[in-house]
Symmetry: C2
Subunit: 154 residues, 2 copies
Amino acid sequence: MTIEEVIKSTVKMDNAKKVILNIMYTQNVINDNFSELMKPYDLSGEQYNVLRILRGQKGKPANMCVIQERMLAKTSNTTRLVDKLLLKDLVTRNVCSDNRRKIEVLITQKGLDILKELDPKVDQHEHFFAKNISPEELELLNYLLEKYRTNTNN
Amino acid sequence: MTIEEVIKSTVKMDNAKKVILNIMYTQNVINDNFSELMKPYDLSGEQYNVLRILRGQKGKPANMCVIQERMLAKTSNTTRLVDKLLLKDLVTRNVCSDNRRKIEVLITQKGLDILKELDPKVDQHEHFFAKNISPEELELLNYLLEKYRTNTNN
DNA sequence: TTTTTATAGTTGTATATACAAGTGTTGTGT
DNA sequence: ACACAACACTTGTATATACAACTATAAAAA
């Protein structure tokens, strides 16, 4: 299904516009799919993302700003995301004794268990779309997206 | 900037995961950029989108469900989006006399004027990213994104 | 030492989104 | 004609996001 078909466009669009719409729409499709995956675990996509970041710390606590800068959506409200995870006992939160402005967030065993359970499903989700194109095309797509968004001129 | 750099990932990711993150992140970048563009006009991206759809009707009124199916985010609440536009006198809304379940939404002159003013800026926004890659790559990117999200197998 | 500035995080508010339930209208089957 | 299902849209509610103002702590400057 082309992007014109998706939005039932009658007028011809140039490729610059089509790429924008294609990226926006593809993100919607991926996101809907992922949310569906997370629903049984009562996690939002961003909540999952925070857990994933915390696991990546390998036992080392993460401050709020460390979490923030590793998230895709740089404007997410980390405080409230962590609040939600705290309520579900998936993380712990403590004031850092070295610098009392900072907060140390750690993933709990329960959090790790959920991630472990989710791992194969997330993997499957990623490959569900990836298998539509060849490995070479997949690599090319990454290359093009990175090049596309990286503004060299002005 | 590669997606690994963006999220400061230390572990190696496979291309399937990278593509997902690249699409999500690129959409964020585009969206932030676009929101910034719309801000002086007090329009959200989705509100702009509705106006654009209405202009595309060329004077023919659009029902709620017609608007809905032409939007990128299929879950948007069209009623409330139109409400917002109505408050700003950018659209009109009337019950359809043929089928009183239906609503006829039309863009006003004021709405058309704003779109006209926005046209060059939106165009510029689209080309801001597009010019990072060649026309051939742009076309390839469209092709790959459409192929990527269209699930043929299962 | 006191003031100022910067940092780290939280909270308030307004808006947006997701999802389900509700309302009124039209079409269909009996 | 009547009951019932389908349709088109709206509303309620809970959650998420965006952005700015605020609090507390630490570092730097005067």
